[in-house]
Symmetry: C2
Subunit: 217 residues, 2 copies
Amino acid sequence: MRDRESPIDGSRRASPAAGQPSPTALTLYFAPGSSSMAPHIALHEVGEPFDARPVSFARHEQRDEAFLRINPQGKVPVLLVGTQALTEVAAILYFLAQRHPQARLWPHDDPIAQARVISWMSFLASTVHPARRQGIDHARRVWGLAERRLGEAPWAVGEFGIADIHLFRLFWRMRSSLHPSPQEFPALEAHHARMLERDAVRRTLAIESAIGYEVPA
Amino acid sequence: MRDRESPIDGSRRASPAAGQPSPTALTLYFAPGSSSMAPHIALHEVGEPFDARPVSFARHEQRDEAFLRINPQGKVPVLLVGTQALTEVAAILYFLAQRHPQARLWPHDDPIAQARVISWMSFLASTVHPARRQGIDHARRVWGLAERRLGEAPWAVGEFGIADIHLFRLFWRMRSSLHPSPQEFPALEAHHARMLERDAVRRTLAIESAIGYEVPA
């Protein structure tokens, strides 16, 4: 695993010549503790080597011209596949799951389960993620929906998969900012504990916390 | 096409006995003009018969107990597949595209294009859709990102597909509420015009406008 730290270098996109990387080599732009933690975990789950490029919010690197050429939205995560930039957590997770069927992050043989995975990720990105902006009460209500949706199941949809990685990162973040009591979201707490047992999750948290979280409290 | 109008009947979920529908028969719960327009269009694109169930916001039917049993979030769209409820526009579009490969709504042979479709839909659901809540200026900035992302291309990703349907419905709605000048978003305007040439789009608009739009201005 090349978790090499290096400054943003947008020129890689236009000319990936240095070192002759493969045309489908992976590069992850991430900011420790942010949404990019989910694809970061997924990369460790699938076990493919990748180039890790931390983007510092404190130094406003997400607004650097070099980075804006890669993602005009100025947001992480971005996964470069060779020179092609993929954005959005759900898309990067989907791509990695398809590229590595052996990692079993996707219900390859069950179309309804596949759609339910997409549904969970869409719900997380469009309803859960932005909920905090509408106030703490709204955020708690929305997390209540997620708690109910998970219910008694160990994982979001059938076996462990990409929706769990997405869910974990958002709940991890909410826990550290809203400090819910352990009784408030018991299903989500149990899910969180199961996720923390995974090597890929532990390794990602260790790497990101060593760099230093820069997300707002 | 059975665009049968009938009141919400949540009991269908628990017991789909009446009329012995197939265990994978499709039922769409939709509100004219709302997000559910996208799956409604997709159903017409794929050409599979479905049971159409309008949900009236004016009569607060999305808060009816029967409907909340189907979707605890109290939101449309919901697609019932037999008795299984699918929520979220992206998930329903994905499901219909997989179920009907002949409709060519999905880049079946191109993994990066697939991820880019998911990326577009995630961007639409998580960034574009909620933008209006943060004010008109923010909404225009976000639509500027969509304009730039579409660029010169006729469709969102390669050939026509589900991301275009999702994009169309959001731009259709924005046009009728923010009334941008035709010069403000030329790529999106051209995309909108291309979409209006499609039979499935025209048919859906005709059906939904005949029932009556109930979305806020």
